[in-house]
Amino acid sequence: MNWTWFHRLASPPHVYALAVRLTPWFAWPAALCIAAGLWGGLVLAPPDYQQGDGFRIIYVHAPSAWMSLMVYVTMAGAAAVGLIWRMKVAHAVAASCAPIGASFTFAALVTGALWGQPMWGTYWEWDPRLTSELVLLFLYLGYMGLRAGIEDPQRADRASAVLAVVGVVNVPIIHYSVTWWNSLHQAPSVMRLGKPAMPLAMLVPLLLMLLGFTLFFVALLLTRVRGEVLARERTASWIREVVRA
């Protein structure tokens, strides 16, 4: 197995150039998938027999929730790589993930609340999913707070990396304990869609939205990583070419 591609990823100028080249390849397909998903979800999909047109919130809630979790795992993975192989680029990726993940966690909470009000009659429910999302938001805020609180950039990178890894190990534990706690006090309130399985007309737009948001995340990441990598390179000569452009 040829590992050169991995070693090249450790080189900041290489990563920067790669990011510039790749961004449009993710940004445009993302826009397409999301547009198609919106069309399919808002227009083509039939109303749910129990929730009527209200179920269409899933087309923004599910991608937001998916993003919040996927971005955290990516952040923790990049952090681990940065710690083990001491790669500045990996730390740059982790730093880029945090604000993206936190904002989508917020979106997941808000859309979840808006979905809850017509369905359960209350804006907030202490159900396992929403509660876990709230805890996830605090994990993100803690990560960003730690980064902000440490002045030395290298120490900030490494300390927040330890925190991210500890956090990702805890996410399943926290989710399990919250689910356990919730099951003690009320019947599980799952946001069911009224039918045992989702018909294709409803499912396909959902998958398109999930894919579209994922591609969007990569495009965002590539943009942010460029800036983070620049900030970590003090005097390298390749910067001269980049900033002049």
Partner: protein
């Protein structure tokens, strides 16, 4: 450097007993287990010199317990329903308060650096510090919990269970807290940040501990949540010192 030598143990222990501040320099010549014992002894002795500080988390816990009846109702029947929550939130916040003492003095006087450089396993020394921290804060909180419970209308039959649950839970809390404390070393006014980092990780302890307490108050078997608490303490015991050691090294770089 790590060979255990019975002849060294006695003079080392005497040295540390006489002057705990010199532990760091004698640490290098001890075996791993010796080093843990000496670090533990040192922390306990230094803490007893500042006995006043030890009382603060307990006083805080007592105050929090007082706040709820005043804010809600003096009826014992109502308070009994709320007791699990009040006890555990109070214990959690009290243990958070105590976390600042875990590394602060050692970071200040350079002992932590000595520990890192001593060639001893920093993870083992983290275990020692966490044990000392629990003995000085978690255990006293656990001993106080039955008193607080009585003030909230809990009957005496439930008290041993409450003591046990808080004792086990506070072990997990000390372990979890050591990670955040190590990460925020040297950050000025890190109290709020430390809470933000530690509380999400402590939620499972809160959930299982409060449930165990609730079951104990109702006279039912609280074995299941207690076992889960124990599992958290064991998991924390294996992973937290590693993470804390890594965090200390990063903070000292």
């Amino acid at each position: 450097m790590n060979h255990s030598d019975g002849n060294i143990a006695q003079p080392l222990a005497a040295l540390v007993a006489a002057d705990p501040d010199r532990l760091s320099s004698v640490c290098q010549r001890a075996s791993a287990l010796e080093a843990v014992r000496l670090a533990l002894q040192r922390d306990l002795q230094l803490a007893f010199r500042k006995r006043g500080q030890l009382v603060q988390p307990l006083a805080f816990f007592a105050m929090v317990t007082l706040l709820f009846p005043l804010a809600i109702s003096p009826e014992l029947a109502r308070l009994r329903e709320l007791a699990p929550g009040v006890l555990w939130v109070g214990a959690l916040l009290g243990s958070l308060l105590a976390l600042e003492f875990l590394f602060r003095d050692d970071a200040h006087d350079g002992t932590l650096e000595q520990y890192a450089l001593s060639g001893q396993s920093l993870t083992a020394l983290m275990v020692a510090k966490t044990i000392a921290h629990w003995l000085l804060t978690g255990l006293p909180l656990a001993l106080m919990a039955p008193l607080a419970a009585v003030s909230l209308g809990v009957h005496t039959g439930a008290l041993p269970g409450i003591l046990f649950a808080v004792a086990v839970g506070s072990v997990a809390l000390s372990l979890i807290g050591s990670i955040g404390a190590a990460l925020t070393l040297g950050i000025k006014r890190s109290g709020a940040l430390l809470s933000l980092l530690t509380l999400p990780l402590s939620l499972p302890v809160l959930i299982f501990g409060a449930r165990a307490t609730q079951l104990a108050i109702h006279g039912a078997s609280f074995a299941a949540p207690l076992e889960l608490l124990g599992a958290l303490a064991v998991l924390g015991g294996t992973l937290a010192p590693l993470a804390a050691a890594a965090a200390v090294r990063i903070s000292l770089e």
